[in-house]
Structures are given as structure tokens and as C-alpha cells.
Assembly symmetry: C2
Homo-oligomer: 352 residues x 2
DNA sequence: ATGAAAGCGCTAACAG
DNA sequence: CTGTTAGCGCTTTCAT
């Protein structure tokens, strides 16, 4: 193994000089700097991570806590993880993957063993059990998601409230007066994930402002559950002309159901999604949607953390502005509004 | 920060004794061991990862190289990553996440900086550029997937050849004589991923043995591509009565298309998938399938690596036996075989 | 602009 | 069964 001492000997300088060339923490004459660089390349030297961590109290590792749960859309989690890793590498950091399984204990482990310089926590719940430990930890943390109390943390998330409002505004602009919301499964609301509620708040506020009716129903992503939920929606609000879906797994079942009921999208009924762009774009009917900016979230999280580690204190919440992409699943409400043809007799979408 | 020295002082012993209690590498009297354990708990001591790594040349970290590509089914990657992380924790290891982005350079980095004790490489191609570097590395590696030359590595994968054979046997047993295979997109075959070819080899061998016709077509996962491919399949082999799909994203488009053409599954046509169990189980028609044992693969990979690190030399390939789960998308071929009703005129599945 | 030297916290001989 | 001690490879004062 090539050590710093080897490089120093090879370049005819002291170890500290090599170290300083690497860290750039003091000025080195151009000539020796070049000589040392050459030695480094020639010998194929790489600093020993452990030694460096021990001496400097900096591991250049960020810990990423992933949820173990599977009721959230996995590809988005993965995209965030990849974005975090890529952004981290761009700043000279590596990423340690932790599963939610260990829970708060993972925080103590990272803290106690100094195995990472900072933590990124995904799938944060409103009253997350990890937060107290994170607060009393030495290391900075960025939360992806918004807990009830954000004191002491930097949080990064999509502005789901604005996203909800954006959906309603878009549909209201198209003339829709009665909107149904197909939400995440009840379990997601129950465990206080926050984003679902925030979206709902935005939807409701905008609906009130625009004087359109809003009916919200949590929903599992199975064909059966979607059929049942949509059935009840049409019973309660027969004048529904648009759906907002916030549940990746419910997207296809919903589209299949509407098709099966002879309702054409967007001629008879509009559908807008709050979901991963990929899901919206590749659905059997490309969906107008507000995407979850996974890449951006991952990147922001890392950059905040790196800034903090570099001494630029900057706690605070980053809410990423929603972006609504029109893809053709939303259109003007039919005039006169067609009665929802919900039985087998109906043919394919005619709007008159 | 609490150090080993603090614990030693608190327990009234020497540092080495504490170290040995932790590692169990030499016998300690029950009384002092207990005393030390108590001190450790009381002080909340955790070994400093960097110091330990420096002194012992063991980081207790496994590096996991994930593909950055998105043409493979993401949830399976994620499931493997989670299984790896969980299994690693169970053996006292943490997992460092590396993206394929860095390519072979990542291998050199891990090797040179001694940031991990071993590597797990996912999405291995037949002639993977990382393998030469991995071979000359000090640290052991486990590949998830099978390269052309497995010399020097432990490889873990599903026995895709057996999986393919299993599908053909299942369908042949049901009386099918002409099977079509909807494969991964051409790009997956082109870059030499191996598993796709191995599945095909298994399908072909079994088909030859059972004297059933086999037509294989790579296919993108879009509705348009599936429609085009299936159309050509029926033109070339009108007597096709069963499909084997190995492409998660093509599953729903295929089912939708068959439905739209008035072909009932499994009455008119059988469908068997080689894909993630979750996809098969939650498809609009639950699919008979051979699942990808992601959990098992991740676990095996870690266990092999840990065994190797513990000195139990055990290089070799682990091919996990396929498991075909019957879910109702496969059935006996209709007698007499129905002509595929591929045009709009056809009603819903009647077999006469 | 460069060197010398003292650790960082832990492990593993080497002694007893 | 336990203690002493010499590093592991690097960073960072303190000198010059």
C-alpha cells in the first residue's frame, strides 16, 4: 500500500508538505507542488480513509437513511438516493446507506462511531422518533420531508401545498367545478407523513378560493380498491368531471377503470396526477402532472449539508416550487357536462 | 466523545482489556468482562470507526455498486440493496453506496482508500470493464449477475436458464405447442447483460426438448412497441397460444393489448412472466411467474463476502433455483385451438 | 515556503 | 488472565 510517507520520500519533501498539497491549506511553491503531484500519480497514491478520518475528524461520508417501508413509490426513493450519491461524489463525499429498520438507534450509531459527518433522513414523519436523537447529535442533518417541528434542521421537500393548489387552479381554469381527489392509502395518512396532508390542504384552499367542489378519498393502489372508491365518488358527487391522483400505484387502475366505464380522458373526464414524472409520462394516457423533483431534492440536501460542514451555517427549509406539466389528460369540461356513463352499456367517449 | 481509554479508566483496567472484551479475541474473566460492559453502557461508548479501521485494516463496510441505468426494473435493484443492507447489518457491517457512474474508477477508489473491506457489484455485464480492476484488487468481491469469465469471483444470481426452462415446461405440460417470448428491450441484450441470454437459452433448450415452437422478440415496454411486436408475432406464428414475458414494463401493455383484442387470459392465451413477484402478483391479471429472488440474492452476496472476510475461502457461483408460482394467467390450451382473434370484430374470449 | 513531531483512538504483538 | 507499548497513516500545531 502506498502511503503519504512514500510519496514524501519519492518527492524528496516532508510528509506535511504532501498533506498540505492535498488539502490546499497552505501555499506551496509551484515547483514542489508539481513534483509532489507527479509522485502521487506515479505511485498511484490514495489517502487512507480511516487514517484521514482519525486525524481530521472528517470522514467525508454522508449517511443516508432510507425507509424500509414499501408503501411509498420505490423508484422515487431510488432516484433521490441516486441523486444524493451523485451530488455527494461531486463534492468529494461518499454515501453510507442505512435502512429505516434500525430506527433511532441508527442515529446514535452514526453519532457515536463517527462513521459519517452528517445525515440525510428520508421519509420523515410529522412526529418522527429519530428527530430527538438527531437534535442532540453533533452532526448536522437534512430532512427530506417536513416534520411538525423543524427546529434545528434543514428540510428539503416539494411544496406539496402549492402543488395541490396548482392542480386545482389548472382544472378550474379549464372549467371544472367538481373535483375528486384519489389520495395515498389510509396508512400513509395515518402514520403522519405530512406530504399527503399538505397536498390536501393546498387542494382545499384553492378549491375554496376558486369555488369548486372537492371530494377527497384515500385509496389503495389495487384495481378493486380504485373501483370501489371511484364508484363511491360518483355516487356522492355525480357531477365530478376531474380527478386529482396522488398515488402512483392507483394511476393505471384508475385509467383502466375509466376506460372500462366508457369515459374518455380527457374528453369526458380530466385526470391530473401528483406523482413521479416517469409514471405520468408513461401511463396508458400520458398524464398532466406535478412531478416529484427527486433529483433536485437529493441535490439540495447534499448541498445544504456540505455547506454546513464547510462552516456556512444555513439552517432553514427549502420548499421546491411545483411544476405542472400538461400532457393531455386534462382538458376543458364538456359543454354540456356529460352524465358519467358508469355502466357497461356506455360506448367510448363522445362528449355530446 | 467517549474513548476506549475513558472506558478503561472507568472500569479500572487497561485499554487492551477493553479492546479484547469488544473483539472477543482473548478470554477475559467473567467479572472484569461484566464490569467493562457496564462501563461501556454507562458511558455510552462506541468505538471510533476511523481509529478502528486504521489500527485493524478493517472498516466493517461493504461497498455496493448500483447501476445508474434505468432500463432495468428499479424496485428489484432497490430490493436487493435493502436486502444487502439488512444482511450486512446483521453481520455488523455497514454499506457504502456507489453508483455505476464512476465505473471502474470506483473500484480503484475503494481499493486505494481502503474505505470498504469488500465490494458487491450489481448489474454485471458479460464483459464488464470493472472486472479487471476487481481481479487485481486486494479486497474480495461478489458479483450479482454472471459475467462471461467468472474466474476469481463469487457470483450470485437466479438460475435464469432453469427459469426459462421452467416456463416452457409449465406451458408444455398445459398442452401449448407454440410459445412467443417477449423479451427485454434490444438495448439490454446489446450491452451483454447475460441474464436475458441465459433465460433465452433455457427457453430454447426446453422448447427443443418438448418439441414446442418458440419465437423470441426483444421488446420495449411501451404500449406502441408491445402492440407492434405482438402483431408481428401473430403474423409469423398464428398458432401462438402462450406468451413468456421477461420485461416488467411490458407486462401491463401486453395484458391491455390482449384484452383489447378480445383474447381472454388464460382461456384464449396463457401468459407466464419472469419478473419481480410484486409485478406478477399485482398485474391486472395476476400472472403465473418465476420471480427474481432479490432478497435471497442480496443475502447470499453478503454472506459469501462475510465468510470470505472471516477467512473461509469460498469462491464459486451460487445459482438460485427458480420458483414458478402459478397465479392463474396460465391454463390448458383450448381444444380445438382458437384462432387468435386479433381484429376489432372479435368479442370477448370464447373458445369455440 | 517547508519540516519536525505530537497525537487522533484503536489493535495486536509482546510481556508477564 | 491482564498490562505495556508500538504503531496504523494522516493532520496540524509549532518551529524555522
Amino acid at each position: 500500500m502506498v502511503t503519504l510517507a512514500d510519496v514524501a520520500r519519492h518527492a524528496g519533501v516532508s510528509a506535511s508538505t504532501v498533506s498540505y498539497v492535498l488539502s490546499g491549506k497552505r501555499s506551496i511553491s509551484a515547483s514542489t507542488r508539481e513534483r509532489i503531484r507527479r509522485s502521487i500519480d506515479e505511485l498511484g497514491y490514495r489517502p487512507h480513509a480511516g487514517a484521514r478520518a482519525l486525524a481530521s475528524s472528517r470522514t467525508h461520508i454522508l449517511a443516508l437513511m432510507m425507509p424500509l417501508r414499501t408503501d411509498l413509490y420505490v423508484p422515487v426513493m431510488m432516484e433521490i438516493a441516486m441523486a444524493v450519491t451523485t451530488a455527494a461524489r461531486a463534492h468529494g463525499y461518499d454515501v453510507l446507506l442505512l435502512t429505516g429498520e434500525e430506527g433511532p438507534e441508527a442515529v446514535r450509531r452514526v453519532e457515536g462511531s463517527a462513521i459519517a459527518d452528517a445525515m440525510i433522513v428520508m421519509d420523515v414523519e410529522l412526529d418522527d422518533p429519530r428527530l430527538p436523537f438527531l437534535r442532540q447529535a453533533e452532526r448536522p442533518a437534512v430532512l427530506i420531508g417536513l416534520p411538525a417541528d423543524t427546529t434545528g434542521f434543514t428540510c428539503v421537500d416539494l411544496d406539496f401545498e402549492a402543488a395541490g393548489a396548482r392542480c386545482v387552479d389548472h382544472l378550474a381554469d379549464l372549467g371544472h367545478r367538481q373535483i375528486a381527489v384519489l389520495g395515498e392509502p389510509p396508512a400513509v395518512y395515518a402514520r403522519g407523513t405530512g406530504f399527503a396532508e399538505r397536498t390536501l390542504a393546498g387542494l382545499r384552499a384553492a378549491a375554496a378560493g376558486r369555488r369548486v367542489g372537492l371530494l377527497h378519498r384515500p385509496c389503495e393502489g389495487t384495481h378493486a380498491a380504485v373501483a370501489a372508491t371511484v364508484g363511491r365518488v360518483f355516487e356522492e358527487r355525480p357531477s365530478t368531471t376531474a380527478f386529482v391522483v396522488q398515488n402512483e400505484t392507483a394511476v393505471e387502475p384508475l385509467l383502466a377503470l375509466l376506460r372500462h366505464q366508457g369515459l374518455a380522458v380527457p374528453e369526458d373526464i380530466s385526470v391530473v396526477a401528483v406523482c413521479a414524472a416517469q409514471v405520468a409520462a408513461h401511463a396508458s394516457v400520458p398524464l398532466t402532472s406535478v412531478g416529484v423533483p427527486a433529483q433536485e431534492m437529493g441535490r439540495h440536501a447534499v448541498e445544504r449539508l456540505v455547506a454546513h460542514l464547510d462552516g456556512h451555517e444555513d439552517t432553514g427549509t427549502v420548499l421546491i416550487a411545483p411544476d405542472l406539466t400538461v400532457r393531455g389528460s386534462s382538458g376543458p369540461v364538456a359543454v354540456p357536462a356529460p352524465p358519467p356513463g358508469r355502466t357497461e352499456r356506455a360506448g367510448r367517449g363522445h362528449s355530446g
